[in-house]
Structure formats: structure tokens, C-alpha cells
């Protein structure tokens, strides 16, 4: 381009006329306008940073945080000392939340695809166009009389307060989730035994901690709260023993580490239970009073699980199992922390039942320092009670194949849709990334690309995830730092609390919280009666706070928006909550057509009404339990109508042909392994959460690449040295990854972390976007060259037949040195 000053200025002469400040180009938008009023702002003014409390969502823990704002910009995040779970502390992930807001590859405008789905060509549209399009599609679904063909599939969902009534009002129960790719099998086991899902290990008061298949010092559900209390307990002298295939940082900081064979933890728990029973170290009062088995029955059942048998299967020496069992039963209080490493197996649900049995016979249930039921705070709900819609479940219904999978089977949703099981007209994804997080990602993507199976895919996301890349419409979601939700989490002080999530900064660009989008859509679809005239999430939260029991007495919204968290300061932990006696009025019918009856055999006290006129069939009927002529709260059922006792013997399991007592179920695919085959397991690192933090530059600078852990013995047989490139092959695919040769892994197992290997999600995750910067800065932006591998692509869909959980830790693989060899 031959440029001279004169030609420039000629253009300028034309431009000056056309683009004058108060120019003639009618209606042209201006980037700036004259400010009215005499405001004067000095360059030298240093304003005080504004501190706004809120709740983190970098993982599911929901730590209380404080965001510091300067010049309308979030500059820093800290823990909120008023939050009783995290007590002002915060992990690296939480601090890097700032990066979520200002990710340069963030999607800030509604985008509609141009060309083929997945082609990567997009066009900006207005919110009005986007909402009109969605409204028209959803209206058509509803008017067609098959509302269940609108499928909403979420991942991290902290907005059920709006999603549930919205879907209910719409008339679709086709709501997918992500629980089964995490801990669904654990939850189902707990619901089958003591009612609610989730537990709280009261480790702060424990003297002996068993860790089975998890890594609480680096990653866990409600991680920060648990982690800091494990550390407190260790500092106070508690012992810790860890069973894990891998030497995690938790294992490394334990008194003893056992690299156990995958999927045999439940058997070790049974063998320990056997030792405890045979040695008379059990809690007789709890077993005889609060469970539905007797000591004698247990003695007889457990006799088969000898320490020798457990040692043969698990690799943990029999003498050690015996020693740990005795310690566990005698160094009190004690508890078992168990999670995905133990439950993400074909036999995951049963493994958790075995651990629950072990906790029960040791007398650890809901006691100080033991395994407690969860206490969560309750927010008032200012919405109108939605009509009890007879919502139909469409494509996501797993019940016919998995009758007990109460948390659904997320990994099978897309494969089932692809097979034509359940028709879909509109598929809306929110905070979920199936191609990346689900097993057999290539299969998941095939279905997402199939416009016959999924005619219209709306994706709410703040980033260009692998899932968003396969959408028809992307709605720019607000980040968790720009939105409002009522929050709570299982309390590690055993006193329930509530926390606020409020916007620390306004949504960037045109991003908009999905909560507000759903409210707007409810109005547009004419199903917004339940909103009670509430216009957005901010107003909802204000009204909720002002109506919440306890909180409203100290100032409601005005209190919590400034403090961030609330709990009853005078309340003490109510351990053994199941043993609380009912009051006489609890046993009286609440209305004329209600009757309260007692099951003579189980002692369950329940109500009969017009919905359930003759038998106990729903958890909603439960009133309490009668034991020895007294009435107690008992173990309140959730979803499954269990008795109200701690159910070691499960009629529910028997009903569907599963073993009624906790037992050992060998993993079928592990019984016929060839000598050169290994088991692939996956794990998390301490600076990332699943799939959604790798766009945080501060975190990805710390962890951006991964390697497969392999034992020196195993590596030597394959001629593999540390740093070599190896090929890991399963029945659904293979991946090339560097080997990390280490004693810190079971010789029959290889392990790889699962936060890496994005192929979208912006420059920090995948390097796909042009790294930006000038001068010295340029290389600093994305200085790392490797983005790691994603093991999920070679892990087949494999479901625990009882709990519905994905068996991520069962994959049989071969490992070979690649042609490239050492690199």
C-alpha cells in the first residue's frame, strides 16, 4: 500500500465531513459521548477498593469470598472470614476466579452459527433475536403436546431455584445432569442406607482417618472446608491411612499408604468389619437399636470376608488389614473419607455400602468426629408454588435399565439420543461440556453433530467450550462473579449456614445470567405465573433474604449482602440427630384426610393421604421411627422410601435383584485381563477443577501438561524410560502421552490427570487462538507449548448397574512405547 501523508489527509477530508463528532451519518453509534453534569475526575484520585462478599463457584465447595473492585473492575478475590466452612481461606482455584471474568476468549455476545454445525463460523445477533428464536422453538415444542422433547442438560448447576420451577412450568422432566460422571454411585448407596445423599466427615474432631480412593488435601467435594480440617486434625495428632492406587499428596502426607488394586476397597472395608465384629470391637447399641440387622446376622454374613481373601484380591497385606481394623475401632473418634476413586467403578455403589457398614459397626454414624449426615441451610423461596405439573421424562430417563440410579446416567444421555431412544426437539446445555467431560467423547460428539438426533442445540456458556463449538446458538452466560444465587453447602461446623452469591461486577459485554434468561423466557412463553412478578435474580435474592428464617431477624438482605454469610451463632452441633425424639404434635395428622400409621414390622411411622391411600411408597410420607415404644426422627428417607433405620439389609436392593447385604462384586472386565494389560485411572490436581478452570491463566501456568504415571517395574517390561512418549490404548481409542515413571503408583495401574487436552476453550486451554501481546510480553502470555491429553476420549461408556455412576477407574488398557520413543 503506497501511502503518503497527502493521500491520508484526502481520506480525512472526506471522513471529516462524514464522520464529524456531531456528524451527518444518521444514527451512527458513538463509542463515547459528552457527559452531562459537572463531574470532574482526577487522574490522581486513588479510590478505596470496594469489597463485595459473594460465593465461589470454581468448584462445588461454595466457599465464601470477597471480591475487591476498583474502577468497576474486579482486581482480587479473597476468602470471607465470616463464612463458617472455609473460614476466610481460599485455594488457588478460587483466587484465579478473576481470570474467568477477563478471559480474552470469553464469549460476550449472543452468537448464531453460520454454515454447518461445528464448522466454526459465527455471527453476532442481538439478545432479542436470540430470545425470539428460542421462544418460537420452545412454543412449538409445547404446542405440539410433547414438552418432554425439550431437554435441558446441565453440569455445575447452582440455579435449581429457577431451573426446577421453569422446567416444571414448561412441563418437561427431561433434565440431564452430570452427577453420574462424579459420585452418583456413592449417593445412591447412601440413600439406600441412611436417606440423604452426601456426608460430612467431622475430621476436625477425629483421631483416626481412613482415606479410601480420594485425595482430600488436593481435590474433593467441599474441598477447602474438608482439607483445612484434615490438616487441623493431623496437627492435633490424628492418624491417617490412605488407600489409593497413586501416591497423591494426601497419600504422601499419611502415616501409611497402600497402593490398592482398583475396585477392591469395598472388600477391604468388609474384611475390616469382619475383624471388628469377630473381636467384639463393634458398637452394639447402634447396631441393635438403629440398624435393621443384628450383631449375629452380621457376624455370620461377614465371616466369608477374611483378611486373607481381601489381601489376595486387593494386594493389601492381611496383617495390615487386621491392624488397621483394630485401630479404626479403638482409636476414636474415627471416620472414612471415601470418594470417586472408590465409587467410579462397576461396583462403586456397593463399595460405598461396604464403607457405610464399616462406619456403622464402628459407631461412627453422625457422631462427633465421625461420618455425619449433612446439615445445609435453608433459604426462603419467594416464588409461588408451581403447579404440580405432570412433567414427562423424555430422552434422559435411565429408569428402565437402572431402576436405582436416582441421580440419572449422564454419560448415556447423548448415546441414547443418538440411538433414537427418546426424541429431542430442543437440546439446551448449561455449564456442561459433554465432548470433554463424558467418557467416549468422540461418540458424544457424533451425536451432538447429528442434526437429526438434535435438531436445535442452544448452549449457555461464557466460553467457547468443545460443546459450544457444536451448538446452533450460544448465549453468553455471566460468570459466577456476575450473578445472584442463594447458596449453602454441607456444613463442617455441623451448624447449617447460608451464603449469598451476588454480582461483584456487572456482566461483561452483553453476557447475561442464565437465571435471568430463564425468567425472561418464562414470561415470553406465558408460563411465568410462578415468578410472582419477580423480574430478575437480584430481586429474587433480595426477597428470599428478607423472608429467610433467622436471617430476616438480623436484617435480611441488608445483612447478608454486606456480610456474605449467615448462621445461627447460638446453635451447637446436634450430633446423633437421628436419635432426636419426636414431639407429640409431630405424630398428629396435619389435615383431615391424613392418617398416621406405624408399620408393625419395621417400626416406620408414616402418613396415608389421598395420594398414598394404603401403603408406604414415598419418602414424602415418612414421619419417624418407633423403637421400643418411643418415637424418633430416625434416618429420614430421601427419594427411596426406606424404613428410617440405618439399612444395612436393603429390601430395596433385593427388590431389583441386587445383593441385599453389603458384599464384594468383582469387576467383570478385570477378571479376564491378559498379562500385558493394565488398568487406567484418572485423577485431579490441586490447581484445577474438572474441565472449567483451564482458561484461568494463573492456574494453567502452574499446570498445563500431563503425563501418564507408570511404575518402574511396569515401565521396564515395556522398555519405557521416564519422559518417553507412550501409546495408551483402550477398546475405544488410544492416546500418546509422556510417561512419568514413578514408584508412586500400583504396578498394575497407570494414571493420568484429566484437566488437560482441551481442543477449544480459548488460547490458554488449547493454544488454538493466536497468542496476543507485544514485545517482551508476547512470550509470557502463553509460554507453555504443551496442552496435555484428555483420557476421557479413550475411556468407554461403562455404567455401574446399581448406582448409575460412570466407571472411570475400570478401563483396561495396553501401554507401549511409541515409534518416536524418547523425546
Amino acid at each position: 500500500m503506497e501511502l503518503t501523508r497527502r493521500t491520508f489527509l484526502k481520506l480525512g477530508a472526506a471522513g471529516a465531513a462524514t464522520f464529524a463528532i456531531n456528524g451527518s451519518l444518521s444514527g451512527a453509534a458513538r463509542a463515547m459521548e459528552l457527559k452531562l453534569g459537572g463531574k470532574d475526575i482526577s487522574r490522581l484520585t486513588r479510590k478505596e477498593r470496594q469489597a463485595i462478599p459473594s460465593t465461589c463457584m470454581q468448584c462445588v465447595t461454595a466457599c465464601g469470598i470477597i471480591g475487591y473492585v476498583e474502577d468497576d473492575r474486579l482486581v482480587k478475590l479473597e476468602g470471607n472470614p465470616e463464612a463458617s466452612n472455609n473460614r476466610g481461606r481460599m485455594c488457588a482455584r478460587g483466587q484465579a476466579g478473576v481470570n474467568q471474568v477477563y478471559d480474552p476468549d470469553r464469549i460476550l455476545y449472543p452468537m448464531r452459527r453460520v454454515g454447518q454445525r461445528g464448522e466454526g463460523k459465527w455471527k453476532r445477533i442481538t439478545w432479542d433475536e436470540a430470545l425470539n428464536e428460542i421462544t418460537a422453538k420452545l412454543k412449538a415444542v409445547r404446542d405440539g403436546g410433547k414438552p418432554e422433547e425439550f431437554v435441558f442438560h446441565y453440569g455445575r448447576n447452582r440455579m435449581s431455584w429457577i431451573l426446577d420451577p421453569f422446567m416444571n412450568a414448561f412441563g418437561s422432566a427431561s433434565v440431564g445432569n452430570h452427577t453420574s460422571i462424579c459420585e452418583a454411585s456413592k449417593f445412591v448407596a447412601q440413600q439406600s442406607m441412611w436417606g440423604p445423599y452426601q456426608d460430612v466427615n467431622d475430621v476436625a474432631n477425629a483421631k483416626y482417618i481412613l482415606v479410601m480412593g480420594c485425595n482430600p488435601l488436593e481435590a474433593h467435594t467441599v474441598h477447602n472446608a474438608l482439607c483445612q480440617r484434615v490438616i487441623d486434625a493431623r496437627a492435633a495428632g490424628a492418624r491417617m491411612v490412605t488407600f489409593d492406587v497413586r501416591l497423591s499428596n494426601t497419600a504422601a502426607r499419611s502415616d501409611r499408604w497402600y497402593p490398592i488394586k482398583p475396585g477392591t476397597d469395598g472388600l477391604v472395608a468388609l474384611a475390616m468389619a469382619n475383624v471388628i465384629i469377630q473381636n467384639g470391637l463393634y458398637d452394639e447399641e447402634f447396631i441393635e437399636t438403629w440398624t435393621n440387622v443384628t450383631v449375629d446376622e452380621l457376624k455370620e454374613h461377614l465371616a466369608q470376608f477374611t483378611t486373607e481373601m481381601a489381601a489376595r484380591e486387593s494386594g493389601v497385606p492381611a496383617a495390615d488389614i487386621e491392624k488397621i481394623a483394630v485401630e479404626f475401632a479403638t482409636i476414636k473418634p474415627s471416620t472414612v473419607i471415601s470418594y470417586r476413586g472408590m465409587v467410579s467403578h462397576y461396583n462403586g455403589m456397593m463399595n460405598e455400602r461396604c464403607v457405610m457398614l464399616l462406619e456403622a459397626i464402628a459407631g461412627n454414624i453422625d457422631v462427633k468426629g465421625g461420618r455425619c449426615l449433612k446439615r445445609t441451610g435453608k433459604w426462603a423461596n419467594p416464588f409461588g408454588s408451581p403447579k404440580e405439573a405432570k412433567a414427562k421424562i423424555g430422552a434422559v430417563d435411565p429408569k428402565k435399565d437402572y431402576p436405582l440410579a436416582a441421580h440419572k446416567v449422564a454419560q448415556e444421555v447423548l448415546p441414547r439420543i443418538g440411538k433414537g431412544e427418546g426424541k429431542v426437539q430442543v437440546y439446551w446445555t448449561y455449564c456442561i461440556n459433554p465432548p470433554y467431560v463424558m467418557p467416549d467423547g468422540n461418540r458424544q460428539m457424533e451425536v451432538l453433530k447429528d442434526e437429526k438426533a438434535i435438531p436445535f442445540h442452544v448452549c449457555s456458556d461464557a466460553y467457547y467450550s468443545e460443546n459450544a463449538a457444536l451448538a446452533d446458538l450460544i448465549l453468553p452466560d455471566a460468570t459466577y462473579l456476575e450473578r445472584y444465587d442463594p447458596e449453602t453447602s454441607p456444613s463442617f461446623t455441623i451448624v447449617p449456614f447460608i451464603q449469598v452469591r451476588q454480582a461483584i461486577t456487572n456482566p461483561l459485554g452483553e453476557s447475561r445470567p442464565t437465571q435471568d434468561v430463564l425468567m425472561e423466557l418464562a414470561r415470553r412463553l406465558g408460563i411465568g405465573d410462578f415468578l410472582n412478578g419477580i423480574k430478575d435474580s437480584a430481586e429474587y435474592l433480595r426477597k428470599a433474604a428478607d423472608a429467610t428464617e433467622g436471617l430476616k431477624d438480623v436484617g435480611g438482605w441488608e445483612y447478608i449482602r454486606k456480610v456474605g454469610a449467615w448462621y445461627d451463632k447460638g446453635k451447637k452441633p446436634d450430633y446423633k440427630s437421628y436419635a432426636k425424639e419426636l414431639k407429640p404434635e409431630d405424630l398428629k395428622p396435619k389435615s383431615k384426610d391424613e392418617r398416621i400409621v406405624v408399620d408393625g414390622k419395621t417400626g416406620t411411622v408414616y402418613k396415608l393421604d389421598k395420594d398414598h391411600p394404603d401403603k408406604y411408597e414415598s419418602d414424602k410420607q415418612y414421619v419417624g421411627i418407633r423403637i421400643g415404644g418411643k418415637y424418633y426422627k430416625g434416618f429420614k428417607p430421601y427419594k427411596f422410601p426406606i424404613s428410617g433405620k440405618f439399612e444395612i439389609r436393603s429390601a430395596l436392593m433385593a427388590k431389583y435383584g441386587f445383593p441385599e447385604l453389603p458384599t464384594y462384586i468383582p469387576i467383570p472386565t478385570h477378571q479376564s485381563m491378559k498379562p500385558d494389560e493394565l488398568i487406567l485411572t484418572t485423577f485431579k490436581v490441586n490447581v484445577h477443577t474438572q474441565s472449567r478452570t483451564q482458561n484461568c491463566k494463573w492456574l494453567t501456568e502452574i499446570h498445563n501438561d500431563n503425563a501418564v504415571w507408570i511404575n518402574p517395574v511396569t515401565a521396564a517390561k515395556r522398555g519405557v524410560a521416564d519422559g518417553d512418549l507412550v501409546k495408551v490404548t483402550s477398546k475405544v481409542g488410544s492416546m500418546e502421552v509422556r510417561a512419568r515413571v514413578t514408584e508412586g503408583i500400583h504396578p498394575g495401574v497407570v494414571a493420568v490427570s484429566f484437566h488437560s487436552g482441551h481442543w477449544q476453550y480459548g488460547r490458554y486451554c488449547s493454544g488454538k487462538k493466536a497468542p496476543a501481546g507485544v514485545g517482551d510480553g508476547e512470550d509470557r502470555h502463553v509460554w507453555w507449548k504443551n496442552f496435555g491429553v484428555l483420557p476421557n476420549l479413550i475411556i468407554p461408556v461403562a455404567t455401574d448397574p446399581i448406582g448409575g455412576g460412570q466407571a472411570y477407574m475400570d478401563t483396561v488398557v495396553t501401554v507401549d512405547k511409541t515409534q518416536a520413543g524418547r523425546g
Partner: protein
């Protein structure tokens, strides 16, 4: 004989170029802007700069051209796509540990303050962030126009002060990142229009910076600005 250009006219015309560029990068092109760019007066000026709107934008019907440009704009400046975020903060990392390469860094704050010092505020409708390329270009347009007004009003000291402000702004803001931005766009662009406009912006801004260094305004003969205590000696 060529017409003599006065300092005020030069400033006004410089503002005109920044004005065109600001409009082009602010958002997807609309019908009015397309027609303006295709109109003879601008088209011929652009053509002399090697940017013939007829060639660059093609002869296709308006709707088709606008659709294609919208897709290019989205891919380049909004993402997803090759995505070169048109924000200073993404290119200039100021403080270690303060999120180099992220949106809304210090430059965004400084840009907002600079605007505020001129009695300007970012339009409430503008959902882009203050250090957006269009804002910085429009800021230069506004300064150049203000300079022109001072020349015309005969306040040469004020005009010189505004000139200095432009020089500093190019050094501390636009000039620091525009070259990198332009080369990223050139690498990424599918469309010759935005690539050429980006290159035009880069070359014009560089040339403008040199012009601002001149000890005298662009003029040959004619009106005499007179002695200037702020350093615009009359050396004609």
C-alpha cells in the same frame, strides 16, 4: 497549484481518518456505513490508498456483503473464530501478576480516566470494554477535532497542548499495541476488508505519529500561526 492546507484543516482531516477507522472497528458494518464507504467521495479517497471499496467489498448485493462482513467481524473481533480481541489490555501486560493478556487490565482503567478527563464518558450502550480499538480511535478523532477547533479559534497554545496529548496517547496507548494487533489480524483474517482496514489503521497511525513529531504543522504557505510559546515556532 495545490491548495494550501492550514494547521486547523490538517487536524480536522486527521480526525476524519480516525473517525472512519473508529466506525469500521466499532461493530459490524451496517447499511448506512456500507453506503457511505461506497459513495464516490470516500470511495475514491480509499481507492487511492489501495483500498477500493468496490474491489474490497465486492459487487454483491448489500445484504450479502453485510452478512459476510458480519461473519468476518464476529470471527475476528468477537470470537469464536481466529479471534484477535481488539482490546489494549490483551496486548499490553502492565503489571506482573495482574493478568497479562486478559480483558479489563490497567489500560482499560486508564482509557476510561482519559475519556473522563476530556469530559467524555463511555456510551452506556457500548457493551465493549473501554480500551476497545474503536474507543481509542475515536478518542484520537475527538482530540484532533478539538485541536482543529483551537487552531480555528486562534488559540495556538491550546492547540499545541492538545497536539501533545495526542502524541502522548499514541506513545502510551494506541501506538503500543496497534502494530501487534494489525499483524495478528493479517495472520488471521479471511477477509481482505478488515485486514486492509487494520493495515490502514496501523500505517496511518504510524504516519500520524511522525506528523505529530514535526516541529511545524502541515503547511506550505498561507496563514501564519505566529510565534508560539509552546514550541510551534514560525519557521515558514
Amino acid at each position: 497549484m495545490e491548495r494550501v492546507v492550514s494547521p486547523g484543516e490538517v487536524a480536522g482531516q486527521r480526525g476524519g481518518v480516525y473517525g472512519i477507522l473508529a466506525q469500521v472497528f466499532l461493530k459490524e458494518m451496517d447499511r448506512a456505513l456500507l453506503r457511505t464507504l461506497r459513495a464516490p467521495e470516500l470511495a475514491s479517497a480509499l481507492a487511492e490508498l489501495g483500498l477500493d471499496p468496490v474491489d474490497t467489498l465486492g459487487q454483491a448485493p448489500e445484504a450479502q456483503v453485510l452478512e459476510a462482513l458480519a461473519v468476518d467481524y464476529a470471527g475476528l473481533f468477537l470470537g469464536p473464530g481466529p479471534h484477535v480481541p481488539p482490546y489494549e489490555s490483551v496486548f499490553v501486560g502492565p503489571d506482573a501478576g495482574d493478568g497479562q493478556g486478559s480483558l479489563c487490565g490497567e489500560p482499560a482503567v486508564r482509557m476510561r480516566r482519559l475519556a473522563e478527563e476530556e469530559g467524555l464518558e463511555i456510551s452506556p450502550e457500548l457493551t465493549a470494554i473501554p480500551d476497545h480499538l474503536a474507543v481509542e480511535l475515536e478518542y484520537m478523532q475527538r482530540l484532533a477535532s478539538a485541536e482543529a477547533e483551537q487552531w480555528l479559534a486562534g488559540d495556538h497554545a491550546a492547540a499545541a497542548a492538545i497536539r501533545e496529548k495526542q502524541r502522548v496517547f499514541l506513545d502510551e496507548h494506541l501506538g503500543r499495541w496497534l502494530p501487534a494487533f494489525v499483524s495478528r489480524v493479517a495472520e488471521a483474517s479471511r477477509s481482505s476488508f478488515y485486514r486492509k482496514m487494520a493495515e490502514l489503521a496501523g500505517e496511518f497511525t504510524a504516519e500520524d505519529r511522525r506528523l505529530l513529531d514535526d516541529r511545524r504543522p502541515e503547511r506550505t504557505t498561507g496563514s501564519d500561526p505566529g510565534p508560539d510559546p509552546d514550541g510551534w515556532p514560525n519557521q515558514c
